[in-house]
């Protein structure tokens, strides 16, 4: 622990760690200093020049100013207010007329900032560069003409381990661009979008399409929410990170006009079953000294899968052939549930609410379509990120914090093992809870696998299943994935099963999550997910009666089962 010092901000004394930035201290104490380029998890760029304070008569940026004993900071003098206003006006020149969110009257973080500091974005005309909006697959996009060159996206992309983004050009021609190296491609994780303060780099919106189907009386619109969303969406409404808001979300989704409220968590239980069977099969072969491909890799994160298919195509046979949770449940609702209720499958629209942008890319994959009752169907029609969902709620004046609780419809039932899918290590833990039973006929003696939990980028553990030791690793971010894959290629490691996620902390730190995301906040969200698991009566995927019913339905339909439960992989080219 560093030495504590007293610093004075606007004549009020604060205790702080020596050397910590004055901006960070101010933020922790809820003192308002505007800032765009600063993010507590990223390197300090100090380029937006908004977080100005006065120290010893000099104007300086508080993000670069380190606390020392007795320091006296003024955040409010007239000159500071004026210069900040000027810099904000320069930065946001023409923002509103170029911003799709502002144009649709959707809540935009920049608009909130403008209102707070009395900037209209019409003080100056922006220099418009002759640059088109660049689309990253069907997941995300960036508009160089909305960008403020803060560098957060560039830095987080480097942090993830991809380096797809860069700022190019000098002076007023400086602009966001992508890496043209044919060996570097975006993996659609969307971390850039969760770190852009001005909506310049963002998810490809499905809001209009979702609003249209909600208004269409002929459609039966199903909402299914991913595990992580319930523990983070509250932040958009000023609530504590990690607070489980699923029951309020179910109410909110009904108010928005969704006809059925199911759950991606149910899909996660399906995925666990499919994936555990495959793992059990591969392990049995190994134990019998037969040929098999190990370690098996998880495949529920499309960002990770794209990473492997692009950077390490020679290793795709390691991926489990199980589809991902929302694809599993989407297809389950469009087949089994439709048949059970007796409705026309062409009327069903499945909307996934995800903490993720790569799920938008996944939802569009041709290979995931399936034949059913003479129709060729997409398992999931639209994907809304947590941010888009919050925007839709706000647009409809629905304040989550003020809603009463309600339950999901019956087919949304899930186990605690599904709830933890959102956290790095959760897929591994869920799968092992079921694999153990499949391998040994007995449940694991200890259900909580603490050793695979937490924010660490690489976690390694040996899990005892019956007489066997299963060597596992849990990996988050492409940077760490590369390290483990190289370890495997060098033949240094003999893992049996590895969980990979593109984002820090897993889906809970996903690219579709609120802009409030920081490592510290992600930790709180994770705690929320493990609480849900703790409090569930059903804690294993194979105990979920809805999933059992679904598999019973599929038992007599092997070709449909093959189509909607499994997938395959192929090497990917840049921009594919």
């Amino acid at each position: 622990m560093s030495k504590m010092v007293t610093i004075y901000i606007d004549e009020q004394a604060y205790q702080a760690e020596e050397g910590k930035s004055v901006l960070q201290i101010a933020l922790e104490n809820k003192i308002d200093i505007p800032h765009l380029c600063y993010h507590e998890d990223l390197p300090i760029e100090a380029n937006c020049r908004l977080c100005l304070v006065e120290n010893e008569g000099k104007t300086t940026t508080s993000c670069t100013l380190k606390a020392s004993e007795g320091m006296k900071i003024n955040t409010q003098n007239e000159e500071l207010v004026k210069i900040r206003h000027e810099n904000l006006s320069l930065l946001l020149a023409s923002h509103q007329k170029n911003c799709p969110k502002c144009q649709q009257n959707l809540p935009c973080p920049t608009f909130a900032l403008m209102q707070k500091y009395g900037v209209t974005s019409e003080e100056y005309d922006r220099k418009m560069l002759d640059l088109a909006i660049h689309k990253m697959g069907s997941a995300a996009e960036f508009d160089p003409n909305l960008c403020v060159k803060c560098g957060r996206c560039v830095n987080v992309c480097a942090d993830i381990g991809i380096n797809f983004l860069k700022i190019e050009g000098s002076g007023s021609d400086a602009h966001l661009a992508y890496n043209e190296n044919p060996k570097v491609d975006c993996i659609y994780c969307g971390q850039c979008t969760a770190h852009c303060p001005v909506n310049a780099i963002r998810e490809q919106s499905h809001l209009e399409q979702v609003e249209a189907v909600l208004a269409d009386q002929d459609k039966i619109v199903i909402a299914q929410m991913a595990p992580s969303v319930r523990a983070s969406i509250g932040e958009e409404f000023g609530l504590e990170p990690g607070l489980n808001l699923e029951k309020k979300m179910f109410t909110a989704l009904r108010q928005l006009g969704f006809d059925k409220i199911f759950d991606v968590n149910m899909g996660a239980d399906i995925t666990t079953m499919v994936e555990s069977q495959e793992l059990a099969k591969r392990l049995k072969k190994k134990f019998a000294k037969e040929e098999t491909v190990l370690p098996m890799f998880t495949s529920c994160c499309p960002g990770w899968v794209k990473f492997l298919e692009f950077y390490y195509p020679e290793m795709i046979s390691h991926l489990t052939t199980a589809r991902s949770p929302h694809v599993h449940s989407g297809a389950a609702y469009k087949t089994w549930w439709v048949e059970k209720i007796g409705i026309d499958p062409s009327k069903i629209v499945v909307v996934s609410i995800m903490p993720c942008t790569s799920k938008k890319y996944e939802a569009e994959m041709e290979k995931l379509k399936f034949e059913f009752k003479g129709l060729r169907l997409k398992p999931v029609d639209y994907v809304l990120t947590t941010r888009e969902t919050a925007a839709l709620l706000k647009k409809n004046q629905i304040d989550l914090s003020k809603l009463t609780d309600s339950e999901a419809d019956r087919e949304g039932e899930y186990s605690g093992a599904a709830a933890i899918y959102g956290a790095s290590g959760g897929v591994m833990e869920s799968a092992l809870r079921s694999t153990a039973l499949m391998l040994t006929g007995q449940e694991l003696p200890k259900i909580d696998l603490e050793e695979v939990r937490g924010m660490k980028g690489i976690k390694r553990a040996i899990i005892k299943i019956g007489d066997h030791e299963v060597k596992v690793a849990v990996v988050a971010t492409a940077r760490n994935a590369r390290n483990i894959l190289e370890e495997i290629k060098r033949g240094e490691a003999n893992y049996d099963y590895i969980e990979f996620m593109a984002c820090p902390g897993g889906c809970i730190g996903g690219g579709g999550q609120p802009l409030t995301s920081t490592h510290a906040i992600i930790k709180k969200r994770i705690a929320g997910l493990y609480d849900i698991d703790q409090n569930k009566t059903l804690r294993r995927a194979h105990e979920n009666p809805v999933v059992q019913e679904f598999f019973k339905y599929l038992a007599t339909k092997p070709s449909l089962a093959q189509e909607i439960l499994y997938t395959n992989y192929s090497a990917k080219k840049k921009f594919e």
């Binding site: 300090i44 020049r49 940026t61 000027e86 810099n87 000098s170 002076g171």
Partner: protein, 337 residues
């Protein structure tokens, strides 16, 4: 010559840096010498970026051997064997034969002098930006702390001097030092680079070089863009400060013309890193170029941008605009902005 002898002579000659801050050379040397890092670098900066300023060129062209001698003396004092010459690439193209043979001679003596060809620009001569460029990073300034003397190239102590300082060091060592400096004279009959006494007044320099205008004029001193603007009267009392340049303007120069030149320089040279310099300089240029001829200068639109650049730019480039702007308005137009 014993090292401490040279240091004492440098102190006695009162050599100061040519970057504008006039930091005493011997203090910089002592500071870096006292550090125990195994690796240290010397950097010679010859990338002048102010418009039409040519004194780095003049020194390199006329005193190439002296500059290299100064660099070797400096390396020897710091007990390091590696240096960089940050040179405007157009200059290098013209002086390649001369420079390459000196590099080869130094190498035989065990001193490695790397040539870093700089894209001609103002920012390419800014200390932090040139260190970033040498490291292969984007040419944009660094945070002011830690200083390059403590953590420069790849985190190693780095002594950065202007090319003129290395020439001075060589002159001190050879016992030929005179308290003079080089200055570019622009907008005059016989424009060019002149060697002038450190203490000479601006008007006197113009007179002695047979360049005193026969028309009503004002001057910009210490940088073709960032220098201070003063009247002919003020020029009688003022010594040459900052970067070695004096530019003469006719008093008939229209404010729009003068400001257009000033703002265009900043818009062109901004590296694009920070808001006030990147966006502010572009807006300033836009305001002044879109202005109809002979209409009133919109000071109320210009001033807030200048203030933001002055008080909140990341590096000295953006901050330096306030001096020429305010001194021009005050000394020549008689208005406080």
């Amino acid at each position: 010559m014993p090292e401490n002898d040279l240091l004492a002579k440098i102190e006695k000659a009162r050599l100061v840096g040519r970057g504008g801050a006039s930091f005493p050379v011997h203090l910089k040397w002592q500071r870096i010498k006292s550090l125990e890092n195994p690796k240290k670098y010397v950097v010679c900066n010859a990338s002048e970026g102010e418009p039409s300023v040519k004194k780095d060129w003049h020194i390199l062209d006329n005193f190439t051997a002296e500059v290299f001698k100064g660099m070797v003396l400096t390396m020897s004092f710091l007990e390091t064997k590696e240096a960089y010459l940050n040179i405007n690439k157009d200059y290098y193209r013209k002086l390649k034969a001369k420079i390459d043979s000196l590099v080869a001679i130094c190498q035989k003596k065990g001193y490695l002098i790397n040539i870093f060809e700089e894209e001609p620009s103002y920012i390419g001569g800014e200390t932090g930006a040139l260190l970033n460029a040498i490291e292969g990073k984007k040419t944009e300034p660094r945070a002011s702390s830690p200083s390059p003397s403590i953590a420069g190239i790849f985190g190693n102590p780095t002594l950065v001097h202007n090319v003129e300082t290395f020439y001075d060091v060589a002159r001190v060592a050879a016992g030929t030092f005179k308290p003079t400096r080089f200055s570019t004279l622009l907008g005059v009959k016989n424009s060019g680079v002149y060697e002038v006494a450190n203490t000479q007044k601006v008007a006197e320099i113009l007179r002695e070089t047979n360049n005193y205008p026969d028309f009503a004029f004002f001057v910009q001193v210490g940088g073709g863009a960032s220098g201070e603007v003063m009247t002919a009267e003020q020029a009688k009392e003022r010594e040459l400060i900052g970067c070695g340049s004096i530019e003469v303007f006719s008093l008939k120069t229209k404010p729009q013309e003068f400001l257009s030149k000033l703002f265009s320089f900043y818009a062109k040279e901004s590296c694009g890193k920070c808001t006030p310099c990147r966006d502010g300089s572009w807006q300033l240029k836009k305001i002044i170029t879109e202005l109809e001829q002979n209409s009133v200068i919109p000071w109320n639109k210009i001033s807030p941008i200048i203030q933001a650049m002055d008080k909140s730019s990341f590096c000295d480039l953006g901050r330096s605009i306030v001096l020429p702007f305010r001194s021009y308005a005050k000394n020549i137009l008689g208005i406080e902005v």
